[in-house]
Symmetry: C2
Subunit: 240 residues, 2 copies
């Protein structure tokens, strides 16, 4: 079955709008997806409505133009859910960003923890992976990918109205699925493969907005823990 | 933090036992993990107790010998949970096998569905990925990786006592987390990227042991759906 081509764009979207394509977008649409003049596709920008039907008006090697026709589908809201994660190895970070985007997270925040290997985070690369995952999963918006921040600094400025699920491998012997509050913003914190330091653990446990969560009896890799925790958060709220 | 070296073996495990290593095991322990004579590691075979402490007695390029010392940790039971999945592209099938092993599935069953691309399944490769995931996730057993079977044939011979969760993307507009029965064996069925055929859907919905499950409002890739469904099944039973 041919998959519908969908493209995230930065530009405003409205009926009758004409869009000039950047070189990478033209490459994707015309070289990879083989669209020709007159072909239709879906567009979204996360701001103006949901998915817009558009038609290829001009093709080119490194450029092209689309005409926006009409709004084809309503916006698909994302729950107000952040994912804070310690950077992993490249392929596993990529997977985590892709899966968190599919599951609907609104913000992906890399954090430096006491046991994080001080790897650089390529925000632009992760943002591109999030865009692609949104395009392929029928989303009408893309989560924000933030720059690496220290966990301690994030906690200093934390809005206490945002409940933080602290996924703590060390409590694996004591599984406990939290009952999420019926509403309100949330965040999930996944540590590095080495876990959290005793000082971090102590601080997190003492924070009133922080809820330790154990994800079963087994040792999960960080990216598995992230997908499981996102799923449980969504399920606890009836999949918003 | 150095990770404890763990190895799945076929041989019986008991205190005082001596084990000759196969070439790939010797390569892994001595070339990859750099173990030397006298180094200790963990062994498990899924049958004899849990994790056994062992010591390197002889090293070699393509061989070596271990001595089994004592049982260091009790067996970690897996819930009686199967994952039936249509083969995906290589990297995504690998990911699915790794994650299902981490989450505790006991049997991984590739299925051919009406819309499955008739890809060959390399059971031996998938079994190796499952072994590695078990070694790295602290498990004391490895799920069975079965050969590709037709979904229709599997359903013909299905034990009705094993509830089958049928993860149907088409019901995504109507999310419903099932309340699992408190006990009994289970299975999760994840279709190919193209979904199930109308005939498959009709048959599955009519089967008394089959429970359609929607995993939220979003379109999830097959491997994401598998991880989410495994997580929800486990959570509904208190993470057995």
């Amino acid at each position: 079955m041919a998959q519908r081509v969908r493209l995230y764009v930065d530009q405003p979207l409205a009926a009758g709008q004409s869009l000039d394509l950047a070189a990478d977008q033209a490459h994707y649409l015309f070289a990879v997806m083989r669209l020709t003049e007159g072909a239709q596709l879906g567009l979204f920008n996360g701001r103006d409505g949901g998915e817009w039907e558009a038609v290829v008006a001009e093709t080119g090697k490194r450029k092209g133009r689309l005409n926006v026709l009409f709004e084809a589908a309503p916006p698909q809201p994302r729950p107000d859910l952040w994912l804070l994660f310690a950077p992993l190895k490249k392929a596993r970070t990529d997977m985590l960003v892709e899966k968190a985007t599919e599951l609907g997270a609104t913000r992906l925040q890399p954090v430096a923890t006491d046991y994080t290997n001080a790897e650089r985070v390529r925000e632009d690369r992760l943002a591109a992976i999030a865009r692609e995952a949104a395009e392929q999963s029928g989303a009408t918006s893309v989560p924000e990918v933030s720059g690496l921040e220290k966990l301690s600094a994030l906690l200093d400025g934390w809005d206490p109205a945002r409940e933080l699920w602290f996924c703590d491998e060390m409590r694996a012997e004591d599984p406990a699925v939290p009952e999420a509050p019926a509403e309100g913003p949330g965040a999930i914190l996944i540590g590095p493969e080495g876990g959290f330091s005793p000082a971090e653990r102590e601080r997190l446990r003492a924070l009133p907005f922080c809820r330790p969560v154990a994800l079963g009896r087994r040792i999960l890799r960080a990216e598995t823990a992230a997908i499981s925790a996102l799923t449980l958060w969504l399920a606890a709220r009836g999949f918003p």
